[in-house]
């Protein structure tokens, strides 16, 4: 068949960028890997955990993960820390001082920017951290390079005595490609070398290390000019020369195959000499970088005329569909090349289709929470990061803020303390998930208790990091390998943080009356209360399906109350407008339950006045009613 690649089968592995990073780390002899789950980086640690000769852990947050790998590095082991972009904000406190200390074993920080915001609260450019912390930044363009550069990063870390940032983007993490990998390199562990002048960062010691860090940065600047990770590629069309970093290299090559370019794999410090050499060969220089104009500003500051964000967007991915029209317009060319076969106009006119935002799952234990929250009046609800952020959407509209991990706690206290006279009767609530609470919510709760906040906290314990695919955490009783681990008791934890035992309720979120009662009571009490839910995420094996329900069409009155639950298994079958005896019009909405999707969570029957929602088995027995 079409054997276009001469390599034998077993050496060609099809893997994602995340898997390739884990593979590269393992081959480089990495012995410790730590992370907190976060899209798009989650799978790095999941794959790392599959290697038996490597210690892997889910840490409670990214700062702890980085600190664990710093310790491992100082103990002489090569160590990998992985996180999403916002994770490095959390970990940055450790990073900004670790850069002064340097490393023992190689230390690589893989940070994944969610360029295009597939599942994040913002879009950040983590290359800033290289500048801020004076660290080298490597940027792979695909899975093969992610594998190679991870190996290289460990070597550079030890060569230059520096942590190395491996900057990934969603298109690296979540794109699979063919990777030719190698074998593990066993390395002796040097052992921890006591050296307080280097590792105890008192002001005096730190002051002595700053010049060393700055000298290292200059060595790295010189290295950037000579490393194979950066290269100038010739091209026949001298009108534009492109400076590319990370995945934009391939987007440019796809879009403008004849253009000369500089490919940056080692993008900070930037090789300004190499870039100047390109500038000398071309009429115009254009930097293609995701997201911020960092290279562009540095190149301009070096006195090299350059274009960049004046032509290209400052957000999102610079894929061919963005790049081609922007650059062609700059060159004064038509949007589609003339030799391309013309598509009928109808092909390219925009299609109008409804949006399909993500929804909560069928039977999700959060549904009952938001059903109740949507029925309580005069609320201000501080939200947090997780599936439950979806509570801000239809049909609940029961979440008012979402900022950062754990922010619901402090924000709720601020809403309470900063309330205006008009808001004096508002009930302030906070909604936070189990893993998010352990990540960064505990300190906020302590602050609420200490400062006598009038906040009702909903701690949604579904025994999983749900949004990223159901990973384990200290509240699940399992470790990253699924093995039994110490399990935190949330009631005891919040009581230890100072919440009064009588203000803590543990409820089953499928039992609506109990949930309503606890909520109604606690929002009236001028104190800190915590309502803990205790049912598992439906996407994990902890959830057990029960017999499904169906709707008795004859009994359904079209009240639509069950739709307020927001379960995707309940669908509208028809709408009818009726005129009531007093002459006003009323819309009735009749529903059906997709029994194949329903897992019998028992939530919606409690919202149905006419008792039209019945076990499917009842209909089967009745025969004709199915």
């Amino acid at each position: 068949m079409s054997a276009v690649n001469p390599l034998p089968q077993p050496e060609r592995r099809f893997m994602s960028g995340n898997e390739a990073v884990a593979r590269g780390a393992w081959e480089a002899g990495c012995r410790v890997a730590a992370a907190y789950p976060g899209t798009p980086a989650t799978e790095i640690l999941e794959y790392a955990a599959t290697y038996k000769d490597l210690y892997a852990e889910w840490s409670v947050n990214e700062k702890v993960a980085l600190e664990v790998t710093i310790g491992a590095s100082l103990a002489g082991s090569r160590a990998l820390c992985a996180m999403k972009h916002v994770g490095l904000n959390v970990a940055s406190d450790a990073l900004m001082t670790q850069t002064l200390i340097g490393v023992g074993g190689g230390l690589v920080v893989a940070v994944a920017d969610d360029v295009g915001l597939s599942s994040s609260q913002n879009e950040q450019d983590s290359r800033h951290w290289g500048r801020f912390a004076h660290l080298p930044v490597l940027e792979p363009a695909d899975a093969q390079e992610a594998y190679e550069m991870t190996r290289e990063a460990f070597a550079l870390s030890e060569q230059f005595d520096t942590p190395v940032i491996l900057r990934l983007t969603t298109r690296i993490c979540h794109v699979k490609g063919v990777v030719v990998a190698g074998e593990r390199e066993e390395r002796p562990v040097k052992g921890f070398q006591k050296n307080p002048a280097r590792m105890v960062m008192t002001p005096m010691n730190a002051g002595r290390r700053i010049p060393l860090m700055l000298a290292r940065e200059e060595q790295l600047r010189a290295f950037a000019e000579v490393t194979d990770l950066n290269r100038l590629e010739a091209g026949q069309d001298p009108r534009i020369g492109f400076v590319t970093s990370g995945p934009t290299y391939l987007h440019v090559l796809e879009s403008f195959p004849n253009a000369p370019l500089v490919k940056l794999g080692f993008s900070y410090p930037p090789p300004l000499g190499l870039i100047r050499a390109l500038a000398d060969q071309v009429e115009q220089l254009v930097v293609v970088e995701e997201v911020e104009p960092l290279l562009e500003q540095e190149i301009r500051a070096a006195g090299i005329p350059v274009h960049g964000k004046d032509l290209l967007p400052r957000m999102g991915e610079l894929a061919p569909h963005v790049l081609r029209p922007a650059i062609r317009a700059f060159l004064g060319e038509p949007a589609e090349p003339e030799q391309a076969p013309k598509r009928p106009l109808a092909f390219t006119t925009p299609v109008q289709v409804f949006p399909r935002p993500p929804t909560m799952c069928v039977a999700c234990p959060h549904l009952g929470i938001y059903y109740c929250l949507s029925k309580i009046k005069n609320t201000q609800i501080a939200g947090d990061i997780g599936c439950y952020t979806l509570g801000a959407g239809h049909p609940w509209n029961a979440l008012d803020t979402c900022i950062s991990m754990g922010a619901s706690m402090g924000v709720a206290l601020g809403l309470d303390k900063g309330r205006s006279a008009a808001d004096k009767d508002k009930r302030v609530l906070a909604v936070i998930g189990d893993s998010t609470f352990l990540h960064m919510g505990m300190q906020g709760l302590l602050d609420i208790v200490y400062n006598r906040g009038n906040v009702t906290i909903l701690l949604l314990d579904n025994s999983a990091v749900g949004m990223t695919g159901g990973q384990e955490h200290p509240g699940t009783g399992r470790d990253i390998h699924g093995l039994e681990a110490p399990k935190i008791n949330f009631r005891k934890l919040v009581e230890a943080l100072g919440v009064k035992p009588e203000r803590v309720h543990e409820v089953n979120p499928y039992e609506l009356p109990t949930l309503f009662k606890a909520l109604r009571e606690e929002v009236k009490v001028d104190d800190t209360s915590v309502i803990i839910t205790n049912q598992p995420c439906v996407l994990t094996e902890r959830y057990r399906n029960k017999p499904p329900y169906a709707v008795d069409e004859e009994k359904c009155t079209g009240c639509s109350n069950c739709l307020a639950v927001g379960c995707p298994a309940i669908a509208v079958t028809r709408r009818e407008t009726v005129v009531k005896p007093n002459g006003t019009e009323k819309e009735l909405t009749f529903v059906a339950i997709d029994s194949a999707a329903c897992t019998g969570c028992d939530l919606c029957p409690g919202t149905c006045g006419p008792e039209a929602i019945l076990p499917l088995a009842v209909f089967n027995r009745a025969g004709a009613r199915v």
Partner: protein, 203 residues
């Protein structure tokens, strides 16, 4: 665009909704192309999209694949697991590209709540745009065979005669996966694959 046929990249856009098996279909296609010696790239969207949101996967293979994103207007095949999703992405097809569409409609809550209308006939709308559409109810075929999850295999069968390698090779790859993991399902998947193949030919 290269004149050299050997340099041609095959671009397949798989589109649907979280939980439908879009990722699995794209994975099987990609693995098959890898086994045929091609360079292959496949994008995966994860995160929020898993929660009933829009899911697409770009599968590209050829001698050397550069950007993992199929450039606008260069998709050879659009595999639509849901008609409105096929309509949403049909502008990605190249001139002469083919759309393979499962007619089974899945309305999201924003439609059932009456906030947005569902297009009257997405397939007709695509045809009106001059696109070659092969549409059939893969959901009904799967249900007849006893498992809605078979939609995946039905759709792979449907595109199997439009690939640069024989349909039998893709079929074997699908069945090999089941032989390894769930041998009891090999026979029914073979039926599903052939049913998809026949269904698209009939439209």
């Amino acid at each position: 665009m290269s004149a050299n046929a050997e340099d041609r990249i095959t671009n397949i856009l798989v589109a649907g909704i979280g939980g439908q098996g879009v990722m699995t279909a794209a994975e099987v296609l990609s693995q098959t192309a890898v086994s045929q010696g091609y360079d292959v790239k496949k994008t995966e969207v994860a995160g929020m999209a898993q929660r009933g949101g829009v899911v697409t996967s770009h599968v590209r293979f050829g001698r050397r694949v550069l950007s993992p994103a199929i450039p606008d207007g260069e998709a050879d095949i659009l595999v639509g697991f849901e008609p409105a999703e096929a309509l949403r992405w049909c502008g990605q097809l190249r001139h002469g590209g083919v759309a393979m569409v499962n007619r089974l409609r899945q309305e999201p809550p924003v439609v059932t709540l009456g906030l947005f209308p569902y297009p009257d006939d997405p397939v007709a709308e695509m045809r009106a745009r001059g696109i070659e559409v092969h549409a059939f109810d893969a959901g009904a075929i799967a249900r007849e065979l006893g498992n809605l999850k078979l939609v995946n295999t039905v759709m792979l069968g449907a595109i199997s005669d439009y690939l640069p390698f024989p349909a039998e090779i893709l079929k074997e790859a699908v069945l090999a996966r089941f032989r390894e993991r769930k041998p009891a399902l090999v026979a029914v998947n073979e039926e599903a694959f052939e049913a998809g193949r026949a269904a698209q030919a009939a439209t």
